[in-house]
């Protein structure tokens, strides 16, 4: 392991067929599996909104985003499966059995179009920031290469989110209230997506999977999005939030980590429904997989 860590510290890149310590393989695999699950669960959430999205232009962009997210899931499951820990089918079965994790934000229900806009803006920005921090210096080559493509697509999902937010902010009082309610619901889950402060001996940092500590990424998100939301005239649902005049920084106050812990154990407000919807989607599409796997029918020669 010491030799392997020296190789990583030296900027070494690990490829799928290479020898690697089991702890490294398991840690990287679990991380990619969770990312893949999150893309799939995110895509399914997005899909729920296709019929309800207002206006054809927005509706088409939601269709495209759904395809993007499901596509990211495909790519990531491929990279994960190539690590030889679980097959894609095993990963999906574990997801539906509640044995593997996906991001906290997909354990909540998106109730209104305002929620959907808040997710596209706040959640996508948080997810993008963590992905960028992995991409920057990731020692597992196949994951880093696939992240490049995913990040480019997440980038315009976020811009799409801000565009929608601008429209809502410039809309009627009803629309503004709808979005303020959404911020009240989604601000804390988005912030919690970064996770609690990284432990001093965090394996993912030591092995150059993550390049930045959770608290640093979380703070950068706060410094960017608190003033941005305020610039549109919205308020932040953090009663203890303070602005430090000397450092020019926002402090959101103490963070309650209990909701995050609940989602990690599949005990979030919408976890059960989300997982069962994902399973029923998998079952409903079984005929497609069966049809593709079936041998081509023999066609009688026409004479």
């Amino acid at each position: 392991m010491e030799e392997f860590e020296a190789f990583l510290n030296d900027g070494g890149i690990v490829e799928a067929p290479d020898d690697m310590p089991d702890e490294y393989r398991d840690a990287v695999f679990t991380f990619i599996e969770m990312h893949a699950n999150s893309e799939l669960m995110g895509g399914l959430t997005e899909r729920d909104w296709i019929p309800k999205t207002p206006g054809l232009r927005h509706k088409m962009s939601v269709v495209a985003k759904t395809q993007d997210e499901i596509g990211h899931g495909h790519l990531l499951y491929m990279v994960a499966a190539d690590m030889g820990v679980k097959t894609r089918t095993e990963m999906l079965e574990d997801l539906f059995d509640g044995k593997s994790r996906f991001h906290n934000v997909f354990h909540y229900q998106a109730k209104t179009w305002g929620d959907q806009v808040a997710i596209a803006f706040l959640v996508d920005a948080a997810a993008l920031a963590s992905q960028q921090a992995v991409f920057k210096n990731c020692s597992y080559g196949p994951y880093r290469r696939i992240l490049k493509r995913i990040i480019s697509e997440e980038g315009f999902h976020m811009r799409l989110g801000e565009d929608r937010m601008m429209r809502i902010a410039n809309g009627s009082q009803v629309q503004r209230d709808l979005f303020q309610d959404a911020i009240n619901r989604w601000f804390w889950p988005s912030l919690q997506l970064f996770g609690p402060d990284s432990k001093p001996n965090d394996k993912l940092l030591r092995w150059h999977i993550k390049s930045e500590r959770n608290e640093v990424l979380r703070d950068a998100w706060v410094q960017k999005f608190v003033p941005l939301l305020q610039s549109y005239g919205f308020t932040i649902p953090a009663p203890d939030m303070k602005f430090d005049e000397t450092t020019n920084r926002w402090d959101v106050g103490p963070i309650d980590w209990e909701p995050l812990k609940a989602t990690l154990a599949q005990g979030g407000p919408d976890s059960a429904r989300r997982i069962s919807e994902a399973l029923s989607n998998w079952q409903q599409t079984a005929w497609v997989r069966e049809a593709l796997d079936a041998p081509a029918p023999e066609i009688a020669a026409m004479t």
């Binding site: 395809q67 790519l75 491929m78 493509r149």
Partner: protein, 93 residues
């Protein structure tokens, strides 16, 4: 299901580059999946997909044997020194 490696070519001038991999039931589906996964927004205009089982791999031990063949190079230093000397002799400052 088979695993395919996907290669993408941009704008007619760059070479084909490895884009990633995917699982597909057959060649035709692999092409459609490659287009929808790796060339969603004009990232390239030509795609190759190759069944991973058909790729012949030369591993590090095989290819690496060629890293220690200095006789296949010439650093040109001796020749450059001779030319420099000649230039200096014909243009004394």
């Amino acid at each position: 299901m088979a695993t395919y490696e996907v290669f993408l070519k941009k704008d007619g001038k760059d070479e084909f580059r490895h884009a990633g991999a995917l699982d597909a039931a057959n060649d035709e589906i692999a092409l459609v999946m490659a287009r929808e996964s790796y060339a969603r927004r004009a990232e390239g205009n030509l795609i190759w997909v190759a069944n991973r089982n058909n790729i012949v791999v030369g591993d590090d031990a095989f290819v690496g044997a060629n890293t220690d063949k200095p006789h296949r190079h010439h650093d040109g230093k001796a020749v450059a020194a001779r030319r420099k000397q000649q230039r200096e002799e014909s243009n004394p400052t």
